[in-house]
């Protein structure tokens, strides 16, 4: 049986490390499955579930809120983001930091609030899907 080394790391901690049989992740351009011997690949991940099958056939689900997937000949790495990232959310954070610096008390921009809520919703939906997938697995 062929296996490969998988590391899932985020900036804050190491989430998973071990040898696995295959993995399925949500790439920015669609779902993708990685099995041993996959060509070197680098792609962005969308928030979603990473399905990991180890060599006993045991399936584990991990939730990542976006990040990078890197496939090397024998090692695969997922550089997971710690939170869902959207440009306007990042922008909102930047504006908040600037405002803190200016210590100016202005009204909250409603557009920022909206995009923040939208990004949070997208993350919640993806999390829900992960939970459902886990439930289905447990139910079997």
């Amino acid at each position: 049986m062929y296996t490969f080394q998988l590391d899932i790391v985020s900036a804050e901690k190491s989430i998973f490390s071990g040898t696995v049989d295959s993995l399925v992740a949500t790439g920015e351009l669609g779902e993708l499955g990685i099995t041993p011997g996959h060509a070197p690949l680098l792609t962005k991940l969308k928030p979603g579930t990473v399905k990991v099958t180890d060599h006993d056939g045991k399936v584990e689900h991990y939730y990542v809120s976006g990040g990078m997937l890197e496939v090397q000949p024998h090692v695969t790495t997922i550089l997971a983001d710690t939170a869902a990232r959207a440009d306007d959310v990042d922008e909102a954070a930047a504006i908040a930091a600037k405002e803190a610096a200016e210590a100016a008390m202005t009204d909250q921009n409603s557009e920022i609030e909206y995009s923040k809520a939208a990004a949070e919703l997208a993350e919640a939906v993806a999390q829900l899907r992960t939970i459902q997938a886990i439930r289905k697995k447990v139910g079997k």
Binding site: A11, Q72, L79, T82, R85, D90, E91, A94
Partner: protein
Amino acid sequence: MAVGKEIRTKIGSIQNTQKITSAMEMVAASKMRKAQDRMEATKPYAEKIRGVIGHLGMGHTEYKHPYIIDREVKRVGFIIVSTDRGLCGGLNTNLFKDALKSMQQWQEQDVEIDLCLIGSKAAGFFSRFGGNVVAKTSHLGDAPTVTDLIGTVKVMLDSFDEGRIDRLFLVHNEFVNTMTQEPRVHQLLPVEKNEEDELKHHWDYIYEPDAKELLDVLLVRYIESQVYQGVVDNIACEQASRMVAMKAATDNAGDIIDDLQLIYNKARQAAITQEISEIIGGAAAV
């Protein structure tokens, strides 16, 4: 007995202070261990991402990302990481001293400076000292998340992208061991090429969607992880430094109590002696 009432009150108050400092010492010791664990946990990500960027750079030598190119310096940015609370010895003061020294070197070359401050001590210091503060964040707590830092880092990255600053530095304390914490001024942008990272074997990836876009994201994540590491490192330093400072304070309080106790005993003895001699003197007169 009325003798030495003031001294006894003084001893009491110092004992109370001693209790507080020794409690703070113990709290800092346990927090330090947790902070050190967190520090270790951030390392794999930084190593992996550095590896990926190295590979990308090797595969795509013709594409030079702006974050890699050195350009003429007209204005520099400093991200200064400080603590939120005091009572941690000379930790912040030493850091600010180093930061100012390095800022002065730039000012002598007529280079202007933008500041980005993390932690309320830095905010307090630079509001008194002056400086062009463009972004600020504080009260991140003992377990900060990358999310807390995205905003401040983005402000600096945006000004780099737009050409307002030409270099970006990170100033934070580095945890050497419990007794030693060293201020570090570390260049974030342009990313310095690490010669040790030379790869023995190399291959090109399949890129989805394309290499430039991926490199953009990777470099931003890399800078963010560097700043995050700096912040986590600084927290470990804060706790270690506080532990040492509070241990010293507890010991000093003990010394003062001993001294006061001696003075108190002497005064009490003197009072008794005086009383006895008065009684004897009185008895002899009768």
